[in-house]
Subunit: 385 residues, 2 copies
Amino acid sequence: MKFVSLLGATGSIGQQTLDVIASHPYQFKLSAMSVGRNIEAAQHIIHKFNPEICAVQNEEDAAALQSKVSTNTKIVFGMDGLIEAAVSTKASILVNAVIGSVGLLPTLKAIEAKKTIALANKETLVTAGHIVMREAKKHNVTILPVDSEHSAIFQCLNGEAVDEVEKLILTASGGSFRDRTREELKNVTVKEALNHPNWSMGAKITIDSATMMNKGLEVIEAHWLFSFDYSKIDVILHKESIIHSMVEFADTSIIAHLGQPDMRVPIQYALTYPQRLELINGKRLNLWEVGKLHFQKMDYDRFRCLKLAFDAGEMGGLMPAVLNAANEKAVELFLDGKITFLEIEEMIEQAMLQAVNVSNPELGAIQETDQRTRQFVESLLNKGR
Amino acid sequence: MKFVSLLGATGSIGQQTLDVIASHPYQFKLSAMSVGRNIEAAQHIIHKFNPEICAVQNEEDAAALQSKVSTNTKIVFGMDGLIEAAVSTKASILVNAVIGSVGLLPTLKAIEAKKTIALANKETLVTAGHIVMREAKKHNVTILPVDSEHSAIFQCLNGEAVDEVEKLILTASGGSFRDRTREELKNVTVKEALNHPNWSMGAKITIDSATMMNKGLEVIEAHWLFSFDYSKIDVILHKESIIHSMVEFADTSIIAHLGQPDMRVPIQYALTYPQRLELINGKRLNLWEVGKLHFQKMDYDRFRCLKLAFDAGEMGGLMPAVLNAANEKAVELFLDGKITFLEIEEMIEQAMLQAVNVSNPELGAIQETDQRTRQFVESLLNKGR
């Protein structure tokens, strides 16, 4: 029996993690969880999974929730609560599926507590990859990817020697607007952007998929997870999202991971690694049903956010934190109808241009940069640009 | 430095094995070899690689060859010579690339001599898989596949647990006639059959590729190499031959091996396993250059030879030997212009129908069946069917 702590239980990844846990009741038990402000959903989850602890965003919600659930489940709140949920139970693995840079601190605390980390929170590695990997190494903790692309690469590296790898090849569906020109992107709506062709995901990540920033963050994440230079990481357009990613070796062999677009696969793999379990109600992939797989060279002019992410990754230091915070804020503004789709990348670029970089920054500097960048992007809006 | 014994040095696989050996002079040294009757080619190879021993088919050729090369290389002949080349040097690995059932005995002798076996000779496993794998287990010898499909599967199984495998999926290009109907197959010529769209191979294997018997033999080989029931082995049509084969796991994950159609990849992998080396002058695969990959459900009525192979495999015992010998003889008759393309499968089916099967046969019974089946097929020709 593996005990699991799950941060971000009501999000898309969180819900599917709960599905996996529920589908293998003799293998997994939820011992801690967090939600944001969806108290009703939290109540249902607590009723079903009976965790020891549940963290919510604020004190008021915590009191309201505690009054509705058994005292077997302790309700905590705020960042302290989130960290308590991450570290305090006998969970051997932390699934970090919170969205945004709030996921960083609990991850670091869980590493100190020697929990295996299953990481769906990209920002943790993007903004502080050097710290996270340094701490993971120091405490001899395994970081398991939950992203479909990184899980694919991780699986393709099974039994292989890292120094025989020529290249990591991440596949990108191209998102909601893959077939539109830049000209056509000028007036796209929020609703159109949220209509992803292959994956059903949360709003922020669906927009990131449309801008290709999602792939950019994954490139930076891959750099840290697998310790490869950016020159050894490639992105290829593959609209069916059937090949989830690939690894090319010195002998020209390419090992690829294929499957249905089902996030439960990487989630379950992180939970069962190094074993595999049956995916309950999983749909098997018949390639003859798919018929054709398409591939296209990545166009870095068309997808400027991906180029910005490679740039930020190569610059290193604070720059990925700038990229990420500017993107989070800009996507928020886009979802709120305050800026256009193409202004997302413009704002990120401006934020990167104004940033003062330092190498190997500590947590405080990263958090400060995160805040300052968000304010800067906000100020762009007020200036009317 | 790894010392290599190579049987079948002048064939397609043999030549490419020599290329790999020559391309890594600090890693590999040819210490023994065999050829059939191509004495001139043997002379060149001996001059270049200076092996300790070279086996040829007959005594006359042996004498002629010995007179032309240094006495550093001992020339031997016949089956005894072939076995001597397989076992007598300090080679740690035997690459068995001879064509046909003549490859069986040297393989068994090399297993007894505790050599690692790199097997390009399908018939060895097809006709006597139960004996070969039993002996390999007994002598703790590794059998490494050299076929592109089996090497792909072997690589996809790296670091994985066999009991978590759902299915092996072999890809088949469809061969020279993949787009023709059965009606159109009636009058195809030998020349047309020899024109394979993706791979440059020998005549026998190119015909086997057109009849799909090649895939059938691979299915039986996969059954023995990886110890999977035939119900867990699938074949899918994939005309580009870019995905070389796949493994599907319990969690619906599929791991695939991709690459250019270059037999040096599986050959070199067998020589370097478990490491990988750079493939010298290897062409890397860019999927965006390929653009599209196509997949189609296998049609067992269209490709009757594949169905016959599954049947023979499932029946077991002597039946794969009957299938193989009937196929070898029928292909020979087709290449000689004595029968039509579709008569190949008819002859194999008739040979299977007349055969008396026994389970778990020993070597003598297999060899006797091989001879009797060839005679039976020959007799079909004389009867005018």
